[in-house]
Symmetry: C2
Subunit: 405 residues, 2 copies
């Protein structure tokens, strides 16, 4: 008998009929002789409805109250799913974050899980009950309700799977796995059978939106095997798991892109110790996430600094840099919102030479100019003109033979 | 500095604008130098929405899950009201039933409060915070979410007022107090300034719907003064309080009616010990509330039994009595759905003679036939033909001079 943790997202529980579909899937796993813990999100649209209520009161609603408000979305779904399972003749019980004591820190709207008390769930599983757990929410040490932020329900599922030492954590979503690239952009994209935690992390941080990086980090830390699959069919999805030899044979596993960045260049800065801090501290103080950073080699004690920021933050960045650039005695600041970041990801890079040059050649062959380059152990990213995004994805998908099984 | 508990019903918090009105009223009381605890219901329509979701799954949804589901309605309101108070510059915190540990028994959907832990609220009040508490909900000893059933938020407010030894419990509703009778039926109806707990209890059980009997019972037990008033104006409402000499001078305080009853007569029953139990046990087993019961004097060892039941249950009653009547060897059973119960209520009855005969005379003067009579210490009820309801209310209102201050 295995313990299976399943997670269903908002589109999978969007209405009563879909909840009944989920119940049938849960029952299938239960009938196959497993213990089942199900984590669900709020019904699609419900969180938006609650957020709109909050924002009709205030642009910046009190975060403690915001969390108490939006956490009701998941509580509704767990009750409805448990009722459905009960009606279908199966013992099921709903649990909210405070009932099973998913204890988090006090960072409302983006709390981190500190501990999970599994006793209550284990007791129920032993009685043959299906445990239905509200994703996305927890409580802090003082019993205030907290929420985990984006991808929070995935994180709840992985945390429970880790704490309960589940055999597998199945993440049901509206796509049927992780693809070599975005199938809507590149029809040749293929579903991956397996991917390593690190590759998944690089893929998600590079723009693939299947899993939130936090849930992948957690899965990696506790070595929880995560199976990403569709709730609308029975196909096998993609297994996110520990790196193995087989994976290393593949040079590149996927191509991702991110069109939501903007490029900023601070030109002709006097190259003195501490300039990077003076530039980036005011940005991080405003919670602006700087992604790629490139500092050119200094010429006559002057340098240029180029970096990317989320495009949505560009107005704030302009304001902050107006002051910072003057302070640093930079010549001027240039902004380019018309960019895209293309990345190739693969654990095989570690043991294969010449991957970067193959990437650059493939882009050059299509006449695509590279504006910035950054590399990690298993990822290479290039910033290019936005209009070449699709072309670049296709070219790289071909260049690394990703259409082949 | 006084401690005031206020309760606002669903129509008073039906939308963001109404919630802002409530916030302003709360602030007025706070600014007058009081500590304030606010209890709120779900936004009007929200509980119905949730109940409909549950019933689209099952006619009889699992009660534990039903409670977990519907309790989210109040959690939404407390968050929104707290956000609003925060935005207006006041410290406010929302609390759900599990956070302040309103512990109830395990009777899902109609739980009774066993204890209230006031520590968390007292701490917050001392810091100058306005405590906003979800009505209608609690938790049982095992941390399952429970709800208190109809009138539950009133009960929460009174229980908190009792536990916190509040100076007053203000119940804001969509009517502006307790009237001598229903103003929509009798234009001469007058608002009462004061009414005793017992009178209020008899009024509510006799059909007046301002307060639920359970909250009145609780208020009586702990001698909590309850001020029933409108959330849409600033008029004084009606104070529900301990009986005093002044009240006793008034013979009758109010006239109520109940059109939702049906009359059942079991005819020619052999009069043996235990027949009442054989008749009423199967009804109470099905949770059917029998109201007035009359057993005629036995003639030649046969008797007739007449009683009233809620009209909505009449089909179930027919089925049950078909079996019970045969079992009791009764001749037949007659049903009359075309009735109304008219009651007069007043603590003054205890010390005034001839009240009943004045009532009967007033009805007789209008040619209204009395089918059943039942009396308590401070109430006399008559069952009459339904079509005379309005006429009877007017006649009794006049007969006892209720239009006078």
């Amino acid at each position: 008998m295995a313990l299976v943790v399943q997670k269903y997202g908002g589109t999978s529980v969007a209405d009563i009929e879909k909840i009944e579909n989920v119940a049938r899937r849960v029952i299938d796993i239960k009938e196959a002789g497993n213990e089942v813990v199900v984590v669900v999100s709020a019904m699609a649209g419900e969180t938006d409805r609650l957020v709109n209520l909050a924002h009709s009161i205030s642009e910046k609603p009190d975060p403690r109250e915001y969390d108490a408000l939006v956490s009701t979305g998941e509580q509704v779904t767990v009750s409805l799913l448990s009722m459905t399972l009960n009606k279908m003749g199966y013992k099921a019980k709903s649990f909210s974050g405070h009932q099973i004591k998913i204890v988090t820190d006090q960072s409302h709207t983006k709390a981190r899980i500190l501990s999970v008390n599994t006793e209550m769930i284990t007791d129920e599983l032993e009685k043959g009950t299906i445990a239905v757990v509200a994703g996305f929410q927890g409580i802090d040490m003082e019993n205030n309700i907290t929420t985990l932020g984006r991808g929070g329900s995935d994180t709840t599922a992985v945390a429970l799977a880790a704490a309960l030492q589940a055999e597998i954590c199945e993440i049901y979503t509206d796509v049927d796995g992780v693809y070599t690239t975005d199938p809507s952009l590149c029809p040749k994209a293929k579903k991956l059978k397996k991917i390593s935690y690190d590759e998944m992390l690089e893929m998600t941080s590079a723009g693939a939106k299947v899993l939130h990086p936090r849930s992948v980090e957690l899965a990696k830390k506790y070595e929880v095997p995560v199976h990403v699959r569709s709730s609308f069919n029975k196909d096998e999805g993609t297994l996110v798991t520990k790196e193995d030899e087989e994976m290393e044979k593949v040079v590149v596993s996927g191509v991702t892109y991110d069109r939501d960045q903007a490029k900023v260049t601070v030109i002709h800065v006097p190259d003195k110790p501490g300039i990077a801090a003076r530039l980036f501290t005011p940005l991080s103080d405003q919670n602006i996430v700087v992604d790629m950073i490139i500092q050119n080699a200094s010429i006559e004690n002057y340098t240029d600094m180029t970096f990317t920021v989320p495009r949505k933050d560009i107005d704030d960045v302009r304001k902050i840099l107006k002051i910072a650039a003057k302070d640093m005695e930079a010549e001027r600041v240039e902004f380019d919102e018309n960019i895209s970041k293309i990345s190739i990801v693969g654990v095989g890079m570690k043991s294969h030479a010449g991957v970067a040059s193959r990437m650059f050649a493939a882009l050059a062959n299509e006449g695509i100019n590279i504006m910035m380059i950054s590399t990690s152990e298993i990822k290479i990213s290039c910033v290019i003109e936005a209009k070449y995004t699709e072309l670049a994805v296709m070219a790289l998908h071909d260049a690394f033979g990703l259409e082949k099984e």
